[in-house]
């Protein structure tokens, strides 16, 4: 019994430590996205990242394809990098047609609340339309805007704001 208790404590401690690592990542200011998916590197060069991720799984999509694209301030134009990510997404989504898709649009905090709701919706729509052009059926995709309500990076400068201006392709329902 005693050893089980202490094992439980160790697990909690590890979980806390992992949480701290994640929190540390969230506030880093190197201008890079705060998760592997945002980097989209694994999928881009086909090297690394795959590890023991099951091909065709949601994890595969997030880690190896890249589930999000980023926007310039007040813009809904899909950047060259964003286009590459969406091309990988479209290919993967066509091959794995069992997933319903929700595209979440987000804005950074440097705008007013109501405008940002509309701006997030515009970004989600632009992303959906681009994926539809690449052959992902429009009726598989729904969009939702969170405006500035769900930032992923929470510092008070541009390194965070640029990560929050995003559209995230979520397999299944909305993530939050």
């Amino acid at each position: 019994m005693l050893s089980m208790v202490s094992q439980g404590k160790t697990r909690i401690a590890l979980a806390l430590f992992a949480g701290l690592l994640v929190a540390g990542c969230a506030s880093k200011k190197d201008g890079l996205p705060d998760n592997a998916a945002g980097l989209g590197l694994g999928g881009a060069n086909g090297l690394g990242g795959a590890g023991n991720v099951t091909p065709g799984s949601p994890q595969d999509f997030t880690v190896n394809v890249g589930d999000r694209i980023f926007f310039e301030t007040d813009s809904t134009e899909i950047t060259a990098t964003g286009q590459q990510t969406l091309q990988r997404q479209a290919q993967w989504l066509r091959q794995n047609s069992q997933y319903p898709i929700t595209i979440e649009g987000h804005a950074d905090e440097r705008g007013t609340r109501e405008y940002n709701l509309a701006l997030g919706a515009r970004r989600a729509s632009a992303t959906r339309d681009y994926l539809a052009q690449l052959g992902v059926p429009a009726n598989r995709m729904r969009t939702i805007s969170y405006g500035k309500e769900r930032p992923v990076a929470v510092c008070d400068d541009i390194s965070c704001w640029s990560q929050n201006r995003r559209a995230v392709t979520v397999l299944g329902g909305p993530s939050s």
Binding site: R110, T112, E114, Y115, L117, R122, E149, V154
Partner: protein
């Protein structure tokens, strides 16, 4: 649910009568608040008499309201010479002029046989040696703070010539938790931050609550399950419903001044347009038709016009139109972008958020766009709402590195900025009309 809302029912307060001498022909005490920076009026507020401590608590509410308005300077009671003065005797005015009081407030709280309280007060003009006002109220003891606010409003109106705003409430979004995953709850409080009640439990993300003119309903936006929508919440029953059957996200709701309509934005693909819905017939009317983002609509107090923001010209700017959508014209032309316009209850001004030079500002302009003035500027100020008398604005502010938003108020002169006390982070304030 009923418990939460019971206290919100309009209190039963009966103004029995002005008693004794009322308005004198000439009062010495008056404050011209049409000028920019007003010298606050020194006023002595004697602790109201009572058998328990309730009299003092009520006069403390009166004193705090008047002080926060920036127009009155309550004198420290330790300086009073004539102590314990009640409403039945004429003051020794010499004792009050010597401490530089220009006005004097005295009062008394006494229990009635039926369990109610009787609250009386008198307002004296110290230099003229005349009574300016005298009233008494009967009320449920639970409403003691409201009696204080009503007395403060009476004093404010008698001295400034303008209606007060203290007997009013604010609906807002109470925020807690991580910035990346904030829990947001609708909450309602008195304008001074007292008597906070929560209207939602925090499970659903809620934004932009707005009062109906009868103060019995709130319209707001909630994410709930599925599509984010505009909702209507009945404060007394807690009943809520989705407003309209729209084919997309609805947001940025506000009531019409008669309370019969809700005006809001509907998002369809990349565009947001403005719609009005009649709450009785449920008929909807489309008011704008652009491929832009048209949002944050707000009616003029006579209900004939609407101000809103649109990025149809590139950046967010303010536009006005008729209540039927006619004659849309841009009114903001300054350097920057303008959003969240809200029409003053007096009709003479429009308050807004302006982004310029990396700063977020709160400003005002006339409905034709002239006379723009910035009242406050900083890292992030957003979402002004007018006090019912159109003299004070409340808004929310995020300070750089400050963790979360807080509520502030400021006079339309740009003076007297005050933090509004809330227990945690708070945003999206909306001021109620005066209660009655």
């Amino acid at each position: 649910m009923h418990e939460i809302f019971k206290g919100l029912c309009v209190a039963i307060l009966i103004i029995v009568a002005g008693f004794a001498a009322t308005t004198p022909a000439r009062a010495v005490v008056e404050l011209d608040i049409t000028q920019g920076n007003v010298q606050p009026l020194p006023i002595a507020i004697s602790d109201f008499q009572s058998q328990d401590g309730l009299g003092k608590k009520i006069s403390d509410v009166v004193s705090a309201d008047l002080k926060r308005s920036g127009l009155f300077a309550p004198i420290d009671p330790s300086a009073f010479i004539q102590k314990g003065l009640g409403p039945d005797v004429s003051p020794n005015f010499q004792d009050w002029t010597v401490i530089n009081a220009q006005a004097l407030v005295v009062g008394r709280v006494s229990p009635e046989a039926d369990g109610r309280l009787r609250v009386e007060f008198r307002l004296w003009d110290v230099f003229a040696g005349q009574q300016l006002d005298g009233q008494q109220f009967y009320t449920n003891p639970d409403n003691w703070r409201r009696v204080g606010h009503i007395i403060a409003d009476a004093i404010y109106e008698r001295v400034t010539g303008e209606k007060g705003y203290f007997d009013s409430r604010v609906v807002f979004v109470s925020e807690s938790g991580d910035k990346a995953n904030r829990v947001k709850r609708l909450a309602i409080m008195d304008q001074d931050g007292a008597n906070v009640r929560y209207l939602t439990d925090g499970r659903d993300l809620v934004l932009t609550p707005r009062f109906s003119p009868n103060r019995q309903e709130v319209t707001y936006m909630s994410f709930g399950n599925g599509e984010p929508r505009v909702y209507l919440l009945q404060l007394e029953t807690g009943q809520r419903e989705i407003v309209g059957n729209f084919p997309g996200m609805t947001f940025a709701p506000r009531f019409s001044p008669d309370g019969q309509k809700v005006i809001m934005s509907l998002q369809q693909n990349g565009n947001a347009n403005i719609y009005a819905m009649d709450l009785r017939s449920r008929a909807t009317t489309r008011l704008t038709s652009t491929s832009a983002i048209d949002t944050s609509p707000s009616y003029s107090p006579d209900g004939t016009r609407i101000v809103f923001e649109s990025d149809r010209g590139g950046r967010q700017q303010l536009y006005t139109m008729g209540a039927d959508g006619s004659n849309q014209q841009r009114i903001s032309f300054g350097d920057g972008s303008y959003s969240t316009p809200v029409w003053s209850p007096r009709g003479d001004l429009i308050a807004f958020t302006k982004q310029s030079g990396g700063q977020f500002q709160i400003g005002i302009m006339r409905p034709d766009g002239s006379g723009e003035r910035i009242l406050t500027s900083g890292f992030h100020n957003e979402g002004p709402t007018w006090a019912p008398n159109g003299r004070v604005l409340m808004f929310f502010r995020d300070q750089k590195g400050g963790g979360g938003p807080q509520l502030y108020s400021i006079d339309l002169t740009g003076y007297n900025e005050q933090k509004v006390p809330t227990s945690g982070y708070a945003s999206d304030p909306a001021w109620s009309p005066l209660l009655d």
